[in-house]
């Protein structure tokens, strides 16, 4: 049987001045009816450009297909005219993107945006179109289709938006769907639902699915076959079982090894670091924070939370978006004031301090944020960024420099980095800079708010290792906020699970991971993709 899509010898050229001449080179693959092909790779591997090249959506005019054929049902999509490819887009081949919030137009209703596909490709009357739209929304399990159709993107949840995107992609029953990281921006439980939905729909309609992802867990859930891409080349391909269980290429092996395991690392908790009887560093009692909502009402972001953190211990706070984990972190850093409760750090009542007292204590608790692009001032040199905290405390310039160099060494960067600017570094290197900036203040507590979530797995593994090592060397206590249970298992001693501002469950990492007591925690674990195949 001929495949729906057949890509041969595909080269995608990058503009001059890029880090390589071809984003993708010599790529071959095919997708059959009713089959899911996963393209997996890290950022910069060329996987997204491959998906865009099929529908000729490459950023013009700089990035272009230099060579190769993309045969769709026998037609070479590289060669056909603009009008012909336009008739295929959204009709015979459709696409789903990563972030449904930005992929949908914010000022048009969902209904209007889906309807455009029907207006463009069919001669349906308006009532026919709306009937079809209601049907397809029902098929993607969206409740109350009428309301969804009349809503704007910002009025829906992340999961609902992505279901609407899927409905839009599916409405003309395409032969092929290209899904570019469609679940990466979603919470695990939502991700699990969306993956299940895509699988069902694909089986029902016999659609070919080209699924682009960076996540081996997702691959194991959805793929029939896999291609592993590294710097524009396919290094390995084959049936999902073979690639996941017996990867042949060293790159695939290293990628798989970098995926943190869901079972906690064995820890020596009876002595030294993270021992249960370590002296208390942070004691939080019954803190709450309520925010007023737009249009009246209020939301309890943090609801009566208590926690204890020992010296040298790492506490993981896990939960989905909106669970209050980042709000809690802001309270601990006293970036916002709790409505009630007490926070003690090293015996000091943080909430009782006035502004200048607080400023003299600020160095004791430092933070590393999620986005290494947004959290470093792009106009400052790395040296100035790292040294700022010390300079604010009027340390002599020589000492600032010495200490900055020591920190840059500690996080494994070259000292030349101090005179360079943030944009010259990769995501992982920037996160190292952010860590150096935090550690130069000699903190006792380091709060990492999703500090590894924006990184590729191999980089993520390196940063986790670095944090673990630093923590041991400096006897640092850490609060590690993450939505990723694998990451939590890798680095935490104790775990606190949060949902809608409340603590659902907490305890030593082994206990929670082996036998979660609460139904919500169990659901979180069940939703982690690929937990059966990779552990």
């Amino acid at each position: 049987m001929t495949p729906v899509l057949e890509v041969t010898d595909l080269d995608i050229a990058l503009p001059g001045g890029a880090d390589r001449q071809y984003a993708v080179s010599g790529l071959n693959f095919d997708v059959h009816k009713g089959e899911t092909l996963c393209v997996i790779g890290e950022s910069g591997s060329g996987k997204s450009l491959t998906g865009k090249a099929i529908l000729r959506l490459l950023p013009k005019p700089h990035v272009r297909v230099a060579q190769g054929r993309i045969l769709f049902e026998g037609t070479d999509l590289v060669q056909i005219g603009d009008e012909s490819i336009r008739k295929i887009r959204g009709n015979a081949i459709s696409m789903i993107f990563q972030e449904p919030m930005t992929a949908l137009n914010p000022v048009l209703t969902i209904g209007r945006q889906i309807e455009e596909v029907l207006i463009e490709h069919t001669r349906m009357s308006r009532p026919e179109r709306w009937k079809r739209m209601r049907e397809i929304l029902t098929e993607t399990n969206l409740p109350d289709p009428e309301r969804i159709l009349n809503s704007y993107p910002h009025q829906l949840s992340g999961g609902q938006r992505q279901r609407a995107m899927i409905a839009m992609a599916l409405i003309l029953e395409p032969k092929l769907i290209i899904a570019d990281e469609p679940t990466t921006a979603l919470d695990v439980t939502t991700q699990a639902q969306i993956l299940r939905l895509m699988k069902q729909i694909q089986e029902r309609h016999g659609t070919g699915l080209l699924f682009i992802t960076h996540d081996f867990g997702v691959v194991s859930e959805i793929a029939d076959r896999v291609i592993v891409m590294e710097r524009g080349r396919a290094v390995e391909s084959g049936p999902v079982g073979d690639v996941l269980h017996a990867p042949k290429h060293p790159y695939t092996q290293s990628l798989m090894a970098a995926v943190p395991s869901l079972s906690p690392k064995p820890r020596n908790r009876t002595s030294g670091q993270g021992a249960p009887n370590a002296p208390t560093l942070v004691a939080v009692e019954n803190v709450s924070k309520t925010y007023p909502l737009m249009g009246g009402g209020s939301m309890k972001a943090v609801d009566n939370v208590s926690l204890r953190l020992g010296v040298g211990e790492t506490l993981g706070i896990v939960g989905e978006s909106g669970s209050g984990k980042s709000s809690l972190a802001r309270l601990l850093l006293r970036l916002s004031e709790p409505d009630e409760g007490t926070i003690r750090l090293d015996g000091t009542d943080l909430l009782a301090l006035n502004r200048s007292q607080l400023r003299s204590k600020r160095h004791l608790f430092q933070v590393v944020f999620q986005d290494p692009y947004g959290s470093l001032n792009p106009r400052w040199t790395v040296g100035r960024i790292i040294g700022e905290g010390l300079r604010l405390r009027n340390e002599p310039q020589r000492k600032v420099l010495e200490k900055s160099e020591a920190m840059i060494d500690l996080v494994g960067l070259d000292r030349k980095a101090l005179s360079r600017f943030p944009h010259e570094f990769s995501g992982g290197q920037r996160q190292r800079i952010a860590i150096a900036r935090a550690l130069i203040m000699d903190p006792k507590l380091l709060i990492a708010d999703e500090a590894v979530s924006a990184l590729d797995v191999s980089v993520q593994a390196q940063i986790l290792e670095l944090l673990d090592e630093i923590k041991k060397r400096l006897n640092l206590s850490m609060i590690f906020i993450t939505h990723d249970l694998r990451v939590a298992a890798n680095i935490c001693d104790t775990i606190m699970v949060m949902q809608s501002g409340r603590v659902v469950e907490s305890g030593p990492v082994e206990t929670i991971f082996k036998a979660p007591q609460q139904e919500y925690t169990q659901r979180l674990f069940a939703a982690v993709p690929g937990r059966l195949t990779t552990d």
Partner: protein
């Protein structure tokens, strides 16, 4: 929506009061008053006559009593009396509002339409010669002072080529009526409206160009293309709507500052609007009239800003008025 508008109008009251108090004191910081001017014009009046004038106009009383009287009057929509022109301030302003509104609306329409069109042309031909030309011209429009543009237009189109009249709103001697009068006014309107709008054409062009370019990099544009929409629908149906949002913000700012610009343009072209009236009042030290004009203009600006805010919520569903 209604509640929003009501609240904004109530909030405007302290703003207007502050403008009133500030302008009252600031204007009185300048040396000289209307009594000096009138005495001077009568040709060497005696000290007693000036004092008598002051007494008559209430200028001999303390500033605070004058202010209190003034506020009380304004609260009852009474803007005082212009001793200079021997007319109630409100009547004077009312007779001059029309020409200013005509001038402003015309300039506003010209600048926003041309600015958007030129911005779209520039953005769709980015870095091509057309775009470069538009950028160059708009930079010139940006940098040229308003009064100079007015004078140059008069020099070229009225004096050298005699296409448009030099000043005024209509040909008084012609006694036009009906359509002929409208045409005559329109003919007089061309030069002042064009000079007043040049700067804003440049502002809108640049704003529109950068806003369009920024929006066309957004993810939803790729989605729209992946749906199979033709380029035209992607640009006009998706990108343009989002790109117009900053234009709306600018429009609110423009109308406010155009009131200021109209003082210059109306003086240059002898356009009998509020701007010219303000200019005359300033040199006659006719402070009652001047304060009245300031208050009416601030009320206009505040009302326009409320309208812009409401429009914003209509265009952008993410904005909620409360």
């Amino acid at each position: 929506m209604v509640r929003f508008i009501a609240r904004r109008l109530i909030q405007a009251i302290p703003t207007i009061l502050m403008i009133l108090v500030l302008s009252f004191f600031l204007l009185r910081l300048a040396p000289g008053d209307i009594a000096d001017v009138m005495a001077g014009e009568s040709g060497g009046a005696s000290e007693e006559y000036v004092e008598q004038l002051r007494q008559q106009f209430g200028l001999d009383r303390s500033l605070f009593i004058q202010l209190a009287t003034y506020i009380k009057n304004v609260a009852t929509f009474e803007l005082g009396y212009s001793y200079r022109q021997n007319m109630a301030v409100s009547e004077l302003i009312l007779s001059r509002v029309g020409p200013t509104v005509i001038l402003m609306l015309t300039s506003f329409a010209i600048s926003i339409v041309l600015g958007i069109v030129l911005g779209i042309v520039a953005a769709r031909n980015v870095n091509r010669p057309v775009d470069r030309l538009i950028s160059l011209v708009s930079t010139l429009g940006y940098a040229t002072p308003l009064f100079w543009v007015g004078l140059m237009l008069i020099l070229i189109f009225s004096i050298t080529y005699r296409i448009f009249p030099t000043s005024g709103i209509e040909d008084i001697a012609a006694f036009n009526e009906g359509f002929a009068r409208v045409r005559d006014i329109a003919w007089h309107l061309v030069l002042p409206a064009v000079s007043l709008s040049l700067f804003y054409i440049a502002v809108y062009t640049r704003l529109m160009r950068s806003s369009l370019l920024e929006q066309s990099k957004m993810d939803y544009v790729v989605t729209a293309e992946a749906k199979g929409l033709p380029r035209r629908k992607v640009v006009y149906g998706h990108v343009l709507r989002n790109a117009l949002l900053p234009i709306l913000t600018m429009a609110g700012v423009q109308i406010g500052s155009m009131l200021g610009g109209s003082i210059i343009i109306e003086s240059v072209f002898g356009w009998p609007g509020m701007g010219l009236l303000a200019y005359e009042a300033l040199f006659a030290r006719d402070l009652n009239l001047l304060t009245g004009i300031l208050i009416v203009s601030s009320v206009m600006v505040i009302l326009i800003n409320v309208v812009v805010d409401v429009l914003y919520a209509v265009v952008d569903p993410r904005i909620h008025l409360k």
